[in-house]
Subunit: 149 residues, 2 copies
């Protein structure tokens, strides 16, 4: 008995962007900016798409245009990309200075970036120290979770 | 001419805790709990120490006892440890099912954990989806930042 069979597979889109600045430190920081900027922009895109589908289902107007969504994507992408760029540069610098690659680089890098974000957000005094501790803890936890196995 | 020289070095404390449950999956999740629980407890300890030093400098009373600080450390450690345990278990499960170790495991694991935290925090509907997207993005970014180099 002849049978018809359908076989399909869903594959993720693959984009490779290669930027060579001729310096390993600069290459890493640019790489960090592109990678994390893309993740942040993708997060905004997913959220915006979900909201639009929700509005379509309810038959209501989204309240903001596609242009607003694209602007938000670029803004978030640039913001988180810059933070990642700084973190990668700092972690790489510490690795070179200390000559070791371990969680302490992540802790110090995270603390400096946490304090920096806090200062840029116009916080002062105690809040900056708290954010530095938080940043160090988050970076160390991320390092442990991803590099222990 | 004789010269006296002082040489000192500050080394980080080193604790090795080995727990063998006889199952690689269980070992990893317990390991995740201990590691991230320790990081979370250390964060609270650093914050509390900073606040105490601040109060001592100003000559004011901290407002809460050492017992309160220890309780907060245990609570935060257990909370973040449990989240890390679930994430590690989920990521490892996906790696075994998919047969691959890449950022997609982190994305899916982060999304599930994000949604779970949201539901436990008594959020509903749209907020849960938003938190799932946020969780997936954070886990993917952490994977990229720590495993790309």
């Amino acid at each position: 008995m002849p049978r018809s069979r359908f076989s399909g597979s869903l594959s993720w889109p693959r984009f490779d962007v290669v930027i060579d600045m001729g310096n390993p430190s600069l290459n890493r920081t640019i790489d960090g900016f592109v990678m994390i900027g893309t993740v942040a922009a993708a997060r905004v895109a997913a959220e915006e798409a979900y909201h639009r589908i929700n509005h379509l289902r309810k038959g209501t107007f989204p309240g903001h245009t596609l242009h607003d969504s694209l602007k938000k994507m670029c803004k978030e992408g640039a913001y988180w990309g810059t933070i990642a760029e700084l973190y990668v540069g700092m972690e790489y610098g510490m690795r070179r200075i200390r000559g070791k690659s371990d969680w302490k680089n992540a802790l110090l890098g995270g603390a400096v970036i946490g304090a920096l974000i806090s200062v840029v957000s116009k916080n002062k005094g105690e809040k900056v120290i708290e954010d530095a501790i938080k940043g160090g803890a988050v970076a160390t936890a991320a390092k442990f979770l991803n590099c222990a196995y």
